[in-house]
Symmetry: C2
Subunit: 203 residues, 2 copies
DNA sequence: CCCCTATGTTGTCAATGACTACATCGGTCC
DNA sequence: GGACCGATGTAGTCATTGACAACATAGGGG
């Protein structure tokens, strides 16, 4: 195998790929620029030519995470037949599966705004949200949504799925059948908890 | 001011208090045992007499966080009049207020199970959950809960509140009126999203 | 009063992030 | 084809950190 030339040629992408793998495997605390450089076969200073600092690398990982999430949700929605309910189920399963398989990345994606310069992450997050929001908007037009505030409905749905994924991942929901848990949660989202509810969202 | 004696006398509690303050202010990445020791006026080796390592300190912070959360939820529930709906609203506002005011701590509380030795955190979390779960159990006995699976209903409610708090904190829900956002989300939780729902939770 | 344990201090080591100065190459322009 | 410039790498330094070990001090119990 010939030794790598002075110019790596694709270092930024390799660092991001390797960083994502390491993040998911051992968590953000153990994620080290120097270790990534060693794995990529370059010196410890090279990553700083692509990321001004460690936080910038983490930011790029978060943006990529939302981009991947958007792709997953789009794919799930494209594969869903029927109306609002099967679409919401498809989105829910895709979201929870995505989150559970890469929870340290998802934590990074949603990490506190204490992190600096998260405008790019916010933009990427909104692009990912647009996918289920479009489905909810279409459901309202078809008369399948209770109430008229589709923004509020979308927020509720996304908040619930994110919360569910977090609780499942931490073991706080100790349910071995993830798919059933997701389906049950979607049931509850659709029908509500109250036996005699007062007002609907936006009614 | 007399110099501190050799034995601090209360170092563990001081370290935890200071660590929680620093965590909330600047995030977990900047939380440093040495800095905490300096702030407490002891040498850099002293904290290790109370916490075997940095992860143990973080674990203790997470446990305390759930203990404080349980107290807040209990207080909110005690102050709520009427049935299920006002109780759920009281819990929701208390939870979101708690989370938003200390998001880096809440992130730590719910951090990935990649973290070692989280049995104590899990136990503390379950104790915190018991508070809203008791309210939901009482609601079912009063016939105020749609369906019979109160465990699933409790999981749905908690997941939604946690997800809502996370999205509000990260700015992904760009709503300046947090109280109204929480009330709208509770509306949605109670009535459901679907105009023509299929089956209820546990029905 | 003695002893033991809890709790501190001091020092060391390896690893890290950030930074600087320098080296190498790829691409563009003349 | 050669020169030059900027992108991208290398090598070294510094400060800080976490973890650990050896030692010092005091408080409490017998």
């Amino acid at each position: 195998m010939p030794e790598r030339s002075y110019h790596h040629g694709n270092l930024r992408t390799v660092l991001l790929d390797e960083a994502e793998r390491a993040l998911i495997e051992t968590g953000v605390q153990d994620l080290s620029l120097r270790a990534l450089a060693r794995d990529a076969g370059v010196s410890h200073g090279a990553p700083r030519r692509h990321f001004p600092d460690r936080a910038a690398l983490l930011e790029a990982l978060a943006v990529r995470g939302f981009e991947n999430l958007a792709a997953r949700l789009t794919e799930a929605l494209d594969g869903a037949r029927g109306g609002f309910e099967p679409q919401l189920r498809a989105i829910a399963h895709a979201y929870v599966a995505f989150a559970i398989g890469r929870m340290p990345l998802v934590e990074l994606m949603f990490a506190s705004k204490h992190r600096e310069g998260t405008d790019a992450t916010l933009a990427a997050a909104h692009a990912a949200y647009a996918v289920p929001f479009a489905a909810i908007s279409a459901a309202r037009r078809r008369g399948e949504l209770l109430g008229t505030d589709e923004q509020a409905a979308g927020r509720l749905a996304f908040a619930t799925l994110h919360g569910l994924a977090v609780l499942l991942n931490t073991g706080m929901i100790a349910d071995s059948d993830v798919a059933a848990t997701v389906d049950t949660a979607v049931d509850g989202l659709l029908t509500g908890l109250a036996a005699h509810p007062g007002r609907a969202v936006g009614a």
